[in-house]
Symmetry: C2
Subunit: 589 residues, 2 copies
Amino acid sequence: MNMKLLAVAGGKGPADVVIENGKIVNVYTGEIYDGGVAIVDDRIAAVGDVEYCKGASTQVVDAGGMFITPGFIDAHVHPESSDLSIRSFAEAVLKHGTTTIMTDLHEIGVVSGLEGIEAIIEENEITDLNMFFVVPSHVPFSPLLETSGGVFNAEIIKKALEREDAVGISEVVGHYILAGFPDLLDSIDAVKKPGLVAAGHLPDMKGPALNACLAAGVNNDHEALDGPEIVERLRGGCYAMLRESSAARTLADQVKYVVESGVDTTFASIVSDDLHCIDLAHTGHMDHHIKVALEAGLPFIKAIQMVTVNAARSFHMGRTIGGLAPGKRADINLVAGDTAETFEVKATWSAGKKVAENGESLVHYPVAEHKPCVLNTCTLLNPITPDSFKMAAPEGAKKVKVKCMDTLPWIPITQPREVELDVVDGYVQCDVSQDVLYIAQVERYGKNGNIGKAFMGGFHLQSGAIASTVGHDNHNIIVMGTNFEDMAVAVNHLVDIQGGQCFVENGEVVKDIPYPVCGLLSDLSCEELAAEKEELNAALAERGCIIPITCMFLSFICLAALPTLAITDHGFINVLTMQIEDPILGVAE
Amino acid sequence: MNMKLLAVAGGKGPADVVIENGKIVNVYTGEIYDGGVAIVDDRIAAVGDVEYCKGASTQVVDAGGMFITPGFIDAHVHPESSDLSIRSFAEAVLKHGTTTIMTDLHEIGVVSGLEGIEAIIEENEITDLNMFFVVPSHVPFSPLLETSGGVFNAEIIKKALEREDAVGISEVVGHYILAGFPDLLDSIDAVKKPGLVAAGHLPDMKGPALNACLAAGVNNDHEALDGPEIVERLRGGCYAMLRESSAARTLADQVKYVVESGVDTTFASIVSDDLHCIDLAHTGHMDHHIKVALEAGLPFIKAIQMVTVNAARSFHMGRTIGGLAPGKRADINLVAGDTAETFEVKATWSAGKKVAENGESLVHYPVAEHKPCVLNTCTLLNPITPDSFKMAAPEGAKKVKVKCMDTLPWIPITQPREVELDVVDGYVQCDVSQDVLYIAQVERYGKNGNIGKAFMGGFHLQSGAIASTVGHDNHNIIVMGTNFEDMAVAVNHLVDIQGGQCFVENGEVVKDIPYPVCGLLSDLSCEELAAEKEELNAALAERGCIIPITCMFLSFICLAALPTLAITDHGFINVLTMQIEDPILGVAE
């Protein structure tokens, strides 16, 4: 018990900090009224009339009539999607008023297992970002269709749940519940005790299918596509997360529908899920999402509730975070306005420490000394040469029919396209004129040397090869190119630098970005990495590529659960049948 | 995992029960819409459109257009205040639509400790009442001022918290937080992990004092006296419980203020705290409270939220109870109307079992075979005779000045009155003509043989003696009478029958009610016990007593924490100074 906190709250001593002359945004009562906040150590001692907490030693901050809100909570985010190491990520989001995240660090788990996740959590400990751990509910995501580095089974999950910061299990896949995966159902049972939750991953779940998932015990979901799906989840007692991710911008439409329907929004929160570092650098985090929600017609108080108290309650964490009240963690934002045009976070305290002011970070965290388990994660079982990527045609064929997969330009969902391709020296050739490129995924954990191969369209890259060690949900090396030689150089270069992204043309590395941590994360700052990514994207755009965030799209092409086709180290996946297919359909000539 | 539940929810099998043709009261979205509920075993499989859950084996219930609400939750109740054994209590409240209670069984703990509470919880297991255990935060309530049978210290509390049904600690006294009681602060720290809460007892706490209690970690409170105190708690992020108890009817005023203030009511619930069996028999439980709230202007949907989802969330139990949704416990009420005049629970299911219909219970639980630890709890260290109650006057005095305590007629709060009393044979005499009676509390755990003695007014009893083994918060034998002989007979009779209440006149037991369980609880049904209590009260009223629920008032006269005076086995207590006083102030003549 913090006796100093009790003394100050009770009027028997001076607070460390008093923020006065603000407008309290009370997310519990939905009121906004004049007042201030008194802070002792990392906690709030008093809210409203805090004059009595001022003493000679108190630092007094004039809020200048601005709104005082709780720090923002992102209740479903994968920091790895920013490609930033956790300390750079923390610095970047704190600046935008985010003080708490709930995360599974799933991508780290895919590469380095629980040990890797624990290393990253430890790296975060010196930062001011409050992080709760939602244990991955299964790694690999598609055990029969991909190779991963780390593994999460029911036994490891139960061990992870013993951690003090563990608040539940994450990404419980609706289809796996419906299929009755015993390990997953076991893990859900393990989080049925008070204080833990099962966070869902329920795309396309409606009616009876959704009912089954909720009946199994899923407590929240971030995969509702539109407003009606949000309301259906709310009606089902499920915390519904309105999502604005770099790859799925659905918040505005969802808000409009929710507002029009007039339902209670207590069970609704706003999350970012996957946030690209360029978005984070240029548009922000939850502060940006609030503006989107306000623009779409959500009342100010409800928008703030959705990123504070509602988010906290979706993980049963309302006792310690999510509101301005005595005893709560002193996570506080000063906010300039209550409209989409005027809303801006002007200052942020996390656990009582001022971490940002006027858009500038007041903290800078040193680059972590990464643990060995998250370094040097790229191991090839066999050498990679241009031959590694060749696909043999049926004997004697001069031309073959091929099923190429095309990405849509605005969302990395793939569709089949039948094309005819030439055969040279017995191998099927790509055809840039038809926008058919080679794509492959190379297993990188030294486990089996798998290489899956297929044909890709939709990017319109005219020359060279792009490769990345980021590929959901297995993070093997994804490589796409116009020729085998550049593809081999690109893959070998990424292994040389132990992870990252690179573009190779005519055998030369045109641009690379090293990701030393698990092959997923850079130690650069958000602004620095965004600049690097923009340079890489520009190089690709110069070569005709029409997908602006090329590598993020590529990373989803490996996702064996995202319709309708995918490439993993196991091969060319038909997501709908969960079968591996031969992209070569037959002889054309 | 209940695979049958998943199958039915998912549309792959028939539900056990389908309630159709109702109006769903959706406490999550605040909507009311046409639909039904499908039940499998003890759980809800689907809500709304449940046609798909019907099969040949499904029992179909026509709701006849009535409202379908979740079962009601009383998030703060002491079942012992009904004087009913837990099975009789369960039967009585289920009939009124209450399917879950949060309780500390504090009174049982006072007499028989944790072992006794665990015995009562076990007795309840065969009933259909869902009971969560909120561990008493301290027993005895006033360690220096009373003797109790059981003890709860930090060590026992931590042991109790390991129980699966333990959801926190109860009745955390605000004044003890302010005084910094180390054991209590330790226990609060023990419930700071997710899934546990510290339930407060914060009468009179406002401003800095309230802030200190909330800063310490108190999460909910049922002691707000009026509307402003409710709103102050809500603003502080504290779950505020609007109370309608047999001894404190504050709900209507609180509701009016809350409605007028327009605050969010998500953090507000309605509780009964202490419910007398006569009230329970004649007016009901949460169903009655809902009518009071509707009458006071609370919208129907908000009233239902306050006795369901809000109550569940005040103990972080929202994942399993408090709403109609797939996976939730199948606690369901059919309700006739949505106004104070038309509201009536017409049928109740608890965990999928129909337990009441049209005001009649469909269940009858056998009287429990009580465990030895809750039986034979009355042991006198010394024999009780008329002399035991005599108070010696100062030597030679013929008349003395005495501080008599008077109860107010509507609430058992006491006030001092100075009177002059005769002395006979060296002992101070009561004076019925001045409404000054003898009152005493006799220690009944065989520990020290204490007898506290004082003078009582306000009841206006003209003859005989009333005694009871129910006396907050120590449950020693409280006895009040017009003469020493009847008092001795009454106390000895209660010891003979091992607990209960009796009225004695001229050495004869006029009426007694045995309470075999801890000297607190009867095994009669609610209606039977209410009839017995009415008979006892009538006997007292015939002898001039003007307090209708005499024994309940007497039980609070022993409460060393209730202003301004009290009697315990330690003596005559000045509650404001926490000192034992001599009721004899001096010689008058």
